[in-house]
Symmetry: C2
Subunit: 391 residues, 2 copies
Amino acid sequence: MKSFEEALDLMLSCEYHAQTEKVDIMECLGRILAEDVTSDINMPPFDKSAMDGYAARRCDLGKPLEVIETIKAGDIPQKKIHTCQCSKIMTGSIIPEGADCVIMVEETEQHTANTILFTGRYRKSNIALKAEDIAVGTVVLKKSTLIRPQEVAVLATVGCVQPLVFKMPRIIILSTGDEIVEPHIKPSNGKIRNSNAYQLHAQILKMHFKSSYGGIICDTPQKLEETLAHALSNHDLIILTGGISMGDYDYVPDILKKLGVDLCVQKIDIKPGKPTIFGQKHNTFVFGLPGNPVSSFVIFELFTKPFIYKMAGHTYEPRVLSLPMADDYTVKGINRLSWQPIVITPQKTVEAVRYHGSGHIHALSKADGIMRVEAGKAKILKGEQVHVRQI
Amino acid sequence: MKSFEEALDLMLSCEYHAQTEKVDIMECLGRILAEDVTSDINMPPFDKSAMDGYAARRCDLGKPLEVIETIKAGDIPQKKIHTCQCSKIMTGSIIPEGADCVIMVEETEQHTANTILFTGRYRKSNIALKAEDIAVGTVVLKKSTLIRPQEVAVLATVGCVQPLVFKMPRIIILSTGDEIVEPHIKPSNGKIRNSNAYQLHAQILKMHFKSSYGGIICDTPQKLEETLAHALSNHDLIILTGGISMGDYDYVPDILKKLGVDLCVQKIDIKPGKPTIFGQKHNTFVFGLPGNPVSSFVIFELFTKPFIYKMAGHTYEPRVLSLPMADDYTVKGINRLSWQPIVITPQKTVEAVRYHGSGHIHALSKADGIMRVEAGKAKILKGEQVHVRQI
């Protein structure tokens, strides 16, 4: 049995070779950069007005200024600013030669038909200097960066419309277990509906990755072996749900071994999710997640998500908070490290979500996060800071 | 000029009639339920074993127990448990008649070929009772719920494979401004690349919504009017980027008014993002966002995102934290409420992202959130709690 940290380290230290591809900037959200991105331009490319106003010489601001030109964004100024002259200028436009400041429209008044007066107090130039944000050749985004909307803006700015990213792993979800039926079927006695596969599919989609769903494999060793062998040759990651426990009818681990999968994790000292397995065969990986929805969700968050990001070239950092407990809380089952669904109250305190057993379907639907409770910790007192991972 | 709260209230109180549609459960992530979802089954549908073990009678646990049957998940038990009998049972299987507990395999030992002995200490029944999670007819998800992976699991569990959701608003992004060129073009003097439209597209995609991009409209009143008139008749939400300021060449507000748009917000007392506009024409809405990427990003987060969720039938609650400032911080421009990009340090303190002017492209790429600073607040002291919205 591996500890939480041992299991995670083992997974994240596996070697995986990801290929790369170019994607369109409109499609790159959530992808991971496979190379540094540099700028092909200066930003701003010229000394630029940060205001709608008048470009002038600071030393002239006490006197009436003749308006000699109007410069709008995209225009090239035609006239140089000389003593007691100014040009009307729009935000983003090129500062004309001779000018060293822009004064705001709101701080001027018309003096004569063709002259204005500055009525404000001089504070700053209102000029964004050429290259002050980015100079040509600067690395603006590093390899392995996850592309969020902010990074899309950076890519657009430097003209990187086809960023080189790591290929997304080809992920397949397979369900096992004679007792599960697909959600459109009303389960007869002894059967339950498959919810894990759909939840996993959505967890992957939420990361802006994709998975295919291979359906429910009936629990005969032959059928399982055939399906797993095929999945191993055609995917980078297989996620199995259900059927990974100690039961007589859970053939999965043995079949995986027979197929050449090195099962380096077969149990994790964690609650929920002890019967989690993880293995590798060459460049293909297998996760076997526990059969109940809460365990499956939590184990995906703790292990599978960071692993998928690793496959895609990125080091995932979960969002962790330290918040005070809202009330005294007695821990159930203190022999293992546990992760417990919690709600963050409007007062920013933590309340455990009351649930019985790891299969309670509502537990996660109400939760804002999961709280880490160390093994041996029997009670958390009101006000005590707890470690929360947002979900 | 509207205050932040006035502007937001005005937007969120607008009437919008969203239509509904059924979507496949595999495609419903991020959608919003248009009706309550009830369960068509009991959960669990039967008294179910929470363990791999032996189903027995608690009163017999001190004696050798005869194993009379093996029940795997999906099986219907064939035999009733009588005195000193038990059935081997797998997790998730139906509890046989007569049994009132399940003992773990690990806490038993083989006694004779056909009998076992319980070697543990009795703690709990390990039986999940019929309907203890959900009874038939119970509302499991309420109308207006945002569907996350956890809710997908609930939908699958209750057999709702085609949930009724609100239609996504048809969103179009239009860029204006003679000075902007598309990212694939190297800008000549006076021009800058369009990054806002791509950032906005990704911000919407991150919400799992969609937008179309209408390109850059050149800044002639005729062309703008034509394009806006067409957009107004074919979309539910138009997002304009660039061209919404006080400049002589920013015709947009006047054209919108001419086209019958009621511009109920024309300026917001906020930094960045003062030149934000918002309007309505019947069931179609228009946002005009400021032209620089940081302002555009922030205003989208503060106003457009909650508004899109409102259009889709959901009340958006941003993730707000209260964290201490890492160091003394002097606020620039204290006359307006401001939202400042910040980093959350590993110590869970807040550091402002140093940036000059709202156009600094890197400011958001480094940020974890935006910090609210009230108007008039000149300095935030080290250790002072600040209001942070995660991005």
